[in-house]
């Protein structure tokens, strides 16, 4: 069962997994795992802003005949032409739009900082990295880690 508190716990675990891989020079694996940290933090924020109850299974409709929280997100994300549930930029835009309409809106300056860090990770990460054998430079892993670390430590901004 997927719930947002479980996603939140998993984001914390993947953060430390990614750090362990990075310190062990397993840079591609580290970036693969770090991308999911950001994806899960954005999802948690969206579901919290949508006031999805913590114990609710995210694949089950919230109301009889309604959409599941994930289906809601997929439908909203199609606004941006990126209905993939793994697209970090789409999740961020979805979160910003949701906060604009349902409130509280993100502070635009904080939103700019968040967007910068999400885009840095997005520029290096795709969920299909698991099929790749790549060489990642030290500069790239440092850049990704810096952004993931900022988002992880400032995650409360996403939903407060």
């Amino acid at each position: 069962m997927d719930t947002w508190p479980l996603l939140h716990d998993a984001a914390g675990e993947r953060y430390w997994d990614g750090l362990t891989l990075a310190l062990d020079d397993r840079s591609t694996g580290a970036i693969y795992v770090f991308g999911y940290v950001v994806e899960m933090l954005l999802k948690v924020a969206f579901f919290r802003i949508r006031m999805v109850p913590g114990p609710h299974n995210l694949w089950i409709p919230l109301t009889l005949g309604g959409a599941s929280p994930f289906a809601m997100a997929r439908s909203h994300a199609s606004w941006y032409g990126r209905p993939s549930l793994h697209n970090l930029e789409a999740w961020l835009r979805l979160l910003i739009a949701e906060r604009n309409s349902a409130g509280p809106a993100l502070d635009p300056i904080a939103a700019g900082e968040i967007e910068t860090h999400v885009r840095v990770v997005d520029a290096h990460w795709r969920e299909t990295l698991r099929y790749k054998s790549l060489t990642v430079s030290g500069a790239e892993i440092n850049e990704v880690f810096k952004s993931v670390d900022w988002l992880y430590k400032n995650q409360v901004l996403l939903w407060s």
Binding site: R93, A97, R119, V120
Partner: protein
């Protein structure tokens, strides 16, 4: 004993950059002059909100948060509060940063 009341104050940083952005908002000619900020306004989602990205070499060495303040101040100098209130993201990037992040300009 007199009480000293200290209020938090945000330092007025980079007034010349604020003015340059405000000035740029008045210019409608294309292409932009060399060295001037490239301002991209993009509508986000179904509402009236917009995402402002300012791509500019002069951001070099300025932290992201300060860039955001400069953008908001530049818009506040030129537009009324209702327009400024439509900004949901204020993002400042150097041209190199924008290229790395696949932002077209």
């Amino acid at each position: 004993m007199p009480v000293r009341r200290i209020k938090p104050e945000r330092p007025q940083g980079h007034p010349e950059l604020v003015k340059a952005i405000s000035d740029e908002l008045q210019i409608t000619t294309e292409p932009p002059l060399p060295g001037s900020p490239i301002i991209i306004e993009e509508t986000i989602g179904p509402g009236p909100f917009m995402h402002v990205t300012v791509i500019w070499e002069r951001w070099e060495g300025i932290p992201a948060e300060e860039r955001g303040h400069v953008i908001m101040d530049g818009y506040s100098d030129y537009y009324d509060q209702s327009t400024v209130g439509r900004i949901s993201v204020a993002l400042g990037l150097t041209p190199d940063e924008a290229k790395k992040l696949d932002i077209e300009f």
